[in-house]
C-alpha cells in the first residue's frame, strides 16, 4: 500500500503537476489562436511572439516595481505588472490590425496571404523583442517559491517521496481557470460575446443581421492578445523567459488548437491539456515510479522512458498529424475541415 502511495506521489510530482501547469499555458495560448481563427479565419503565426512580447513588457514593469520596492510577497511581483503588460500588448496588436491586417480583410484576401502577412508581423515583433530585452534568459520570479516543498510534504504525510508544488504552478492553474470561466461567460451570456459567436459561425449572415464586423474583429484581437500575455507571462514565471522558446512553443499551441478544432474554445482547452499530458507522460522516465510498485527482480534496466525529452515536440506533432488524417476538423468542431 505504501509502495503504491509513494509511486503515485512520484508520478504526481514529476508528471501530473507539471503537466497541469504546462497544459494550462498551452490552453491559454491555444485559446488565443482559436479566437483569431474563428473570427479572422487564419492561423496567426505571430501568436508566439505576441506571448513573448507581453511577457517582456511584464518583465520590464516587474523590474521597475522591484526597483521601487513594491512587492506583493508571497505572490510574484509579475502579477501586479500583468495589467500594464496586457494594456500595452493589446494596444500593439490593435495597431497591427489597423495598419497591417485590416487592408487584407477589406480586400478579402486569401487565407495564405494572411499567413504570410503574419510571418511579417512575427519578424518585426521578434526583432523588437530581441532588440529591447536581448536574446538571453531572464528570470523574474520572486515571492514564495513553493506552496508545499517536497520536505514539508514528506514530514506531513510520512511518505518516502515528496510532492513539491510551486507557487507559479498554482497561479498558472488558477489564472487559466479564471480566464476560461470569464471567457465562456462572455461568449455565452453577453450580447457582444454572442455576436462574436454568430460572426464566427457565419460571417455574411451575422453582418446582415446588423452585427458590426469591425467591432467583432477588434474584440477578437483584444481577447487573443490578453490571453497571449497571460499565457506568456505565466510560462515565463514557471520556467524562465527566453525569446527563442516562444517560437518552439508555437507548434504545441497550434497542435492543441487543431486537435480541439480550430475555432472552438472548448476544443482549445481540451487540446491544450491533451497535448501537455501526452508530452509529459510519454517523455517521463518511469523508473522511480515502477521502483515503488514492482519487486526488485522485475525492475527494467533502463529509465523506462518511452521517448527522450528532446523529442517532446514530436509528440505534439504526431498527435497533430493523426488528428489531421483521421478527423481534420478536430474533436469539437461542427464544421468540416
Amino acid at each position: 500500500m505504501d509502495g503504491l502511495l509513494n509511486a503515485l506521489v512520484v508520478l504526481a510530482n514529476f508528471a501530473l503537476v507539471p503537466g497541469i501547469a504546462y497544459g494550462s499555458q498551452l490552453a491559454l495560448g491555444a485559446l488565443g489562436v482559436t479566437l483569431v481563427f474563428g473570427v479572422l479565419r487564419f492561423s496567426n503565426f505571430a501568436h508566439g511572439e505576441t506571448m513573448s512580447f507581453g511577457a517582456m513588457i511584464a518583465i520590464f514593469v516587474t523590474w521597475i516595481l522591484q526597483a521601487n520596492g513594491v512587492s506583493i510577497d508571497p505572490l510574484p511581483t509579475a502579477l501586479l505588472a500583468l495589467p500594464v503588460a496586457i494594456l500595452v500588448t493589446v494596444g500593439v496588436v490593435l495597431l497591427t490590425d489597423r495598419f497591417v491586417y485590416r487592408f487584407y480583410r477589406h480586400k478579402r484576401s486569401d487565407q495564405v496571404i494572411f499567413i504570410i502577412v503574419s510571418i511579417g508581423v512575427m519578424f518585426v515583433m521578434a526583432g523588437l523583442i530581441r532588440f529591447l530585452i536581448g536574446p538571453n534568459d531572464q528570470i523574474f520570479t520572486d515571492g514564495e517559491r513553493f506552496l508545499i516543498s517536497a520536505r514539508d510534504f514528506r514530514d506531513l504525510t510520512g511518505l518516502r517521496e515528496g510532492l513539491a508544488i510551486k507557487t507559479t504552478q498554482v497561479i498558472t492553474v488558477v489564472a487559466a481557470v479564471v480566464c476560461c470561466v470569464l471567457l465562456f461567460l462572455f461568449l455565452t451570456r453577453t450580447r457582444t460575446g454572442k455576436s462574436m459567436r454568430a460572426y464566427a459561425d457565419n460571417e455574411d449572415l451575422a453582418t446582415l443581421s446588423g452585427i458590426d464586423a469591425g467591432r467583432v474583429v477588434l474584440i477578437a484581437w483584444t481577447l487573443s492578445a490578453t490571453l497571449a500575455v497571460i499565457a506568456g507571462t505565466l510560462y515565463g514565471l514557471d520556467k524562465s523567459y527566453k525569446p527563442f522558446v516562444f517560437q518552439e512553443i508555437l507548434l504545441p499551441i497550434f497542435a492543441a488548437a487543431i486537435v480541439g478544432g480550430l475555432g472552438s474554445p472548448v476544443g482549445a482547452i481540451v487540446g491544450g491539456y491533451l497535448i501537455a499530458f501526452a508530452e509529459v507522460l510519454l517523455t517521463y522516465a518511469y523508473k522511480r515510479f515502477l521502483g515503488h510498485m514492482l519487486p526488485d527482480a522485475w525492475m527494467p534496466d533502463g529509465l523506462a522512458q518511452l521517448l527522450g525529452t528532446e523529442y517532446k515536440f514530436a509528440v505534439a506533432f504526431v498527435i497533430l498529424v493523426i488528428t489531421l488524417l483521421i478527423r481534420p476538423a478536430g474533436i469539437f468542431n461542427r464544421r468540416s475541415g
Binding site: 487564419f42 492561423s43 503565426f45 497591417v100 487592408f103 487565407q111 495564405v112 496571404i113 499567413i115 504570410i116 502577412v117 510571418i119 511579417g120 508581423v121 512575427m122 519578424f123 518585426v124 515583433m125 521578434a126 526583432g127 523588437l128 530581441r130 532588440f131 529591447l132 536581448g134 536574446p135 527563442f244 517560437q247 518552439e248 508555437l250 507548434l251 497550434f254 497542435a255 487543431i258 533502463g302 527522450g308 528532446e310 523529442y311 515536440f313 514530436a314 505534439a316 506533432f317 497533430l320 498529424v321 489531421l324 488524417l325 483521421i326 481534420p328 475541415g337
Partner: protein, 433 residues
C-alpha cells in the same frame, strides 16, 4: 529592363561593400547570396508555381547538410565495428515495419480495424527498432567521443554529397507530401513547420549520426585550401605582382572558386526551372495553381502534380542546404532556426517576385545582402540615435549590444511593405497567355 536593372543595382551595392568594407566580405556575401538563391528557387517552385506552402525549408536544408556529413566525412572504422551491424539491422527492421504497416492497411478493409492494426504494427516496430538501436548507438557514441563518437561518412567527394543531399531531401519530401499534401494551406504550413523542427531535433540529439550539438567540423572542400595555395609557385608569382597580402589573396581565390562553382549550379537550376516554367508542364502547373477545380475537371491529376513539385522543390532546397554546409566546412545542427532558414527564404521569394525564377533569385541576392548589412548599418543608426544618452548610459550600451537584432525588424517591414504595395514582388511573374 525591370529584370536587369535590379541586378545591376545589386552588383553595384556589392562593389560598394568591396570598396568600403572589404573584398573578402563582398565575396562571402556573394557566396551566401548564391546558396540562398538556390534555396529560394526551390521555394519558388512550390509556392510560386504550385501555391504550396512549405514552412519546412529548414528541415530540408538540414537534411542536405546531413548528406554532406554522411557522404564526405571520413569514416570511423572503430564505430562501424562496434555499432554498424546494429544500426543496419535497425534500419532493416524499420523498413520491414513500414512494409508491414502498408500491408496491414491493404488487408483490413474496415476503418477501425485498419487504424488499430496499423497502430499495433507501428508500435511494435518502433519498440523493436529502439531495442536494437540503443545498444548499437551507445557503443558508437562511446568511441572517442571528444573527436568522433559517430559513424562518420563514406569519405567520397563533396560535390557528390550535394546530389545526395538533394535526393535525401526529395525522399523525405515524398514521404511528407504523401501524408500532408491533401491538407488545407494552413494545416500544410503547420505540418511542414513541425516536420522541420523534428528533423532538426533528431540531428541535434542523435549523436551517433551527426554528432549532435558537438558539430562535425573539418568537412572536405571541393576547392583548394588557402595553405596549399600559398605554397604553389604560380600563386607566389601572382602575389608578388599584386599589391595585396598573400593571406588575403589566397582567401579571395578560395572564395572566388566557390563563387564560380555555386554560380554554375545556380545557372543550371535556373535554366532548368525556366525551361520547365515555359513548357506545357509549366502551363499546366499554373492552371492547377490558379484554379484547382477547373484543372481537375480537365482531367489533370492535381494530387500527383502537387506531390511532384513538392518533391522537386524540396530536393533543390536540400541541394542548397548541402552547398551551405560545404561552404561553412562544418555541420552545426544547433544553428538551424526557422526564422533564418525557413521564413527568411520566404521573404526572399515574396520580395523578389513569386512565380518568377529571376525574381526569386534577385530576392535572395537583395535580402541576403540586407540581412548581412543590416548589422553594421543598424549599429550606426542606433549609435547616432542614442548618442545623446552619453557613452556611460546602460540603456545605450544595452541597445548597442542588441543592434544586430534590428535585422529581423527590417526583414519584417520589407516583407509587409512589399505585400502591401507590390504584392507581385520586384520582378513580377510574366503574364503568359
Amino acid at each position: 529592363m525591370r529584370t536587369v536593372l535590379p541586378f545591376v543595382i545589386f552588383f553595384l551595392l556589392l562593389v560598394l561593400v568591396g570598396v568600403l568594407q572589404s573584398w573578402s566580405l563582398a565575396f562571402s556575401i556573394m557566396n551566401l547570396c548564391l546558396v540562398s538563391a538556390v534555396m529560394a528557387l526551390g521555394v519558388n517552385m512550390q509556392w510560386g508555381y504550385a501555391g504550396l506552402v512549405n514552412f519546412g525549408v529548414m528541415g530540408f536544408s538540414a537534411l542536405g547538410g546531413l548528406a554532406v556529413v554522411l557522404v564526405s566525412a571520413p569514416p570511423v572504422p572503430e564505430a562501424w565495428a562496434v555499432g554498424g551491424p546494429g544500426v543496419l539491422f535497425a534500419v532493416l527492421i524499420a523498413i520491414a515495419t513500414a512494409a508491414l504497416a502498408i500491408a496491414a492497411r491493404r488487408i483490413f478493409a474496415e476503418r477501425v480495424a485498419r487504424i488499430v492494426a496499423t497502430g499495433v504494427v507501428v508500435a511494435v516496430g518502433i519498440w523493436a527498432v529502439a531495442d536494437v538501436l540503443e545498444p548499437a548507438t551507445d557503443a558508437i557514441e562511446a568511441v572517442d567521443p571528444s573527436f568522433t563518437g559517430f559513424l562518420g561518412g563514406l569519405g567520397l567527394p563533396v560535390v557528390l554529397a550535394w546530389i545526395v543531399g538533394g535526393l535525401l531531401a526529395a525522399g523525405a519530401a515524398f514521404l511528407i507530401g504523401k501524408i500532408a499534401l491533401g491538407l488545407r494551406a494552413d494545416y500544410l504550413a503547420i505540418a511542414t513547420l513541425g516536420v522541420s523542427e523534428i528533423i532538426v531535433a533528431v540531428m541535434m540529439n542523435e549523436d551517433w549520426l551527426s554528432r549532435g550539438v558537438k558539430n562535425v567540423v573539418g568537412l572536405p572542400r571541393p576547392v583548394p585550401y588557402e595553405v596549399g595555395l600559398r605554397e604553389a609557385d604560380w600563386f607566389q608569382s601572382l602575389a608578388a605582382t599584386l599589391p595585396i597580402g598573400a593571406v588575403e589573396l589566397s582567401s579571395l581565390i578560395v572564395k572566388g572558386c566557390y563563387v564560380g562553382l555555386f554560380t554554375l549550379f545556380l545557372a543550371v537550376i535556373l535554366w532548368l526551372a525556366e525551361r520547365a516554367l515555359a513548357s506545357p508542364w509549366g502551363r499546366m502547373m499554373r492552371a492547377v495553381r490558379d484554379n484547382e477545380t477547373a484543372a481537375e475537371a480537365m482531367g489533370k491529376d492535381v494530387k500527383r502534380l502537387h506531390l511532384l513539385v513538392f518533391v522537386i522543390g524540396s530536393g533543390v532546397i536540400g541541394l542548397a542546404g548541402a552547398m551551405l554546409v560545404t561552404l561553412d566546412g562544418q555541420f552545426t545542427p544547433g544553428t538551424y532556426q526557422p526564422l533564418r532558414f525557413t521564413f527568411l527564404i520566404w521573404v526572399m521569394v515574396i520580395v523578389g517576385g513569386s512565380g518568377n525564377n529571376w525574381g526569386a533569385t534577385l530576392g535572395a541576392f537583395l535580402i541576403w545582402f540586407a540581412w548581412v548589412e543590416a548589422e553594421p548599418i543598424g549599429g550606426m543608426v542606433i549609435d547616432v540615435a542614442t548618442s545623446w544618452l552619453g557613452d556611460a548610459s546602460p540603456v545605450r550600451q544595452h541597445l548597442m549590444s542588441n543592434a544586430a537584432q534590428m535585422r529581423h525588424v527590417v526583414m519584417g517591414v520589407v516583407l509587409l511593405l512589399v505585400l502591401r504595395f507590390a504584392p507581385r514582388g520586384i520582378i513580377p511573374e510574366t503574364d503568359r497567355t
